[in-house]
Amino acid sequence: MDTMQLLNLLADDPRATVRDLADILGESEENVEKGMNELEQKKILCGYHTVINWDKTNIEHVDAFIGVSAKPERDTGYDRIAERIAKFPEVASLYLLSGTSEFMVSLNAKTMREVADFVGSKLAPIEGVTSTVTMFVLRKYKVNGVTMDMKEELKDDRMIVSA
């Protein structure tokens, strides 16, 4: 089976059923299932996520990016600090970066108070963390390749039949 093709299809549409995928790839459903299981086990397929514009719901939420400066440790470098930060469920993503601060944390929380508490009582006290800079998200324009609340492009304005 063409694994790259399977990954591309899932990247475009994580909701595609095994049956759809089998049909498009010309494989049996068993083969597709097996292929997906293998990819999951190898942690190549890590999740099937949904992009939601929470701003359009009445659910209270706040997103923030936090730059975290940290000192590396002998033997483990930044890994132990990263693990400590990543454990918190409100941390949506965590990256080690080049540049002024070592880590970038993206945080999904309910209120600004919650963000402040997270930084003050959970993040900053971690051993090795030297300083933090918190940036609140004011508006989202594009998330994971999906544009939000922007002028939509025309879907298909081709003529019905042409040469």
């Binding site: 049909d23 498009i24 010309g26 081709r158 019905i160 039949v161 040469a163």
Partner: protein
């Protein structure tokens, strides 16, 4: 005024478009699912659109040189050099309003009344009527399914007469998706070397090929001097609405084409030309991404159609499949009309692309997989309902 008699005879004789009828029928069915288009579904890559917007912002709103912006012609020369190993300087290149204008110019620059144009069919719809308009004589030669819709050197040799002026080669082909192999081109070149026949090589789909590498006949020994290469931006870069193509050829012929172009067009659209410079320079990755998507759909279409009993040749290029529909017991027109009326799926009868298209239909896969899947579901139902008729 009786325009029926006032319209010039050559214009009256031009073959009407077989696509027009289907367009009219389908246009009355807003809910119809179309597989009938001859243009890509992808939006033009953003870099190209951005370049066009920028050109307008800084005020490039005037005519360009008749033959096109020098920077663009240089870019075209470099592009066909790096892709197909060809060498044209900017004097040997003309920028046209789509590949269609380049075809028109080449035929008009060469054909005198009575001259013959060999046209392998099925093929793109404009070669025949433009030939007729100039007073030339179209000589159709059928590309056969058993030969994967490739024209052969023997067929061309047999069609040659002292009046033959042009051989049209439209490969990768619309509507069949056929491509010529190295040995096909070499054999054709061998037939033509030493003749006064010019090849009008319409390579508009050159960058959309699957599992093969496109070769231009102009790169074969002795062929550069007898070939007009027609290319364009519509298919490769998904720029149909920008109306931009080009021709590369021997200096004297390009100059003659330029003479016609100066009088009837003046110059190709300026904004499109600025956009095209970026397309040639920066967009290989975008094209490759689109090509991969087409390839996935191509395989899907071939498999599905064969599964439902319509024998379908695996196309090597363009974005069409050309299933054999004779097992339905219907003619091409009948098949497509009934499919449209009963299942509201629009495809184009093979006969719209010449008589050799009888028994076939063109299905375009310039559509999303979801769209294709729904259309094929309906085609399958249609075949089952007409089984044994």
């Amino acid at each position: 005024m009786d325009y029926e008699t006032l319209i010039s005879e050559n214009t009256r004789k031009m073959r009407p478009s077989g696509i027009r009828k289907f367009f009219d029928l389908a246009a009355e069915m807003p809910e119809c699912i179309s597989l009938g288009v001859g243009e890509p579904d992808f939006p033009t890559p953003w870099d190209i659109r951005d370049a066009a917007i920028h050109s307008l912002e800084i005020g490039h709103t005037k005519y360009t040189a008749n033959s096109g912006l020098k920077e663009l012609r240089t870019g075209i020369g470099e592009y066909v050099g790096r892709k197909y190993g060809l060498s044209y300087n900017e004097e040997e290149i003309i920028v046209t309003v789509g590949g269609s204008e380049a075809i028109d110019l080449a035929i008009r620059a060469l054909i005198e009344p009575g001259d013959e144009v060999i046209i392998p069919e099925p093929c793109y719809v404009s070669y025949d009527p433009i030939t007729t308009l100039t007073g030339g004589v179209p000589v159709p030669v059928p590309c056969l399914e058993e030969n994967e819709f490739r024209i052969t050197a023997e067929q061309i040799r047999a069609a040659l007469t002292p009046r033959t002026k042009i051989l049209v080669l439209g490969f990768p082909n619309n509507p069949t998706g056929a491509a010529l192999r190295h040995e096909d081109l070499e054999a054709i070149a061998e037939v033509l070397r030493g003749t006064n026949v010019t090849v009008l090589s319409d390579e508009i789909y050159a960058e959309l090929v699957y599992g093969i590498k496109h070769e231009s006949i102009a790169a074969f020994e002795g062929m550069r001097e007898r070939t007009v290469l027609v290319g364009g931006f519509s298919k490769t870069f998904s720029m149909t609405g920008w109306r931009l193509g080009y021709a590369c050829g021997p200096l004297v012929l390009i100059k003659a084409m330029l003479k016609i172009h100066q009088s009837c067009i003046m110059a190709a659209p300026t904004t499109s030309q600025y956009a095209a410079i970026t397309a040639l320079r920066d967009c290989d990755d975008d094209v490759e991404e689109m090509r991969k998507q087409y390839d996935l759909r191509r395989k899907y279409c071939v498999r599905k159609l064969n599964e439902m009993g319509l024998k379908t040749f695996e196309p090597k290029g363009a974005f069409y499949v050309f299933p054999n529909i004779t097992s339905s017991g219907m003619s091409s027109e009948e098949f497509c009309e009934k499919l449209l009326q009963e299942k509201h799926v629009a495809i184009v009868p093979g006969t719209a692309f010449g008589a050799a298209g009888e028994g076939f239909a063109r299905i375009s896969y310039a559509y999303s997989l979801d769209h294709l899947r729904e259309a094929f579901k309906r085609i399958r139902e249609f075949l089952e309902e007409h089984k044994g008729e």
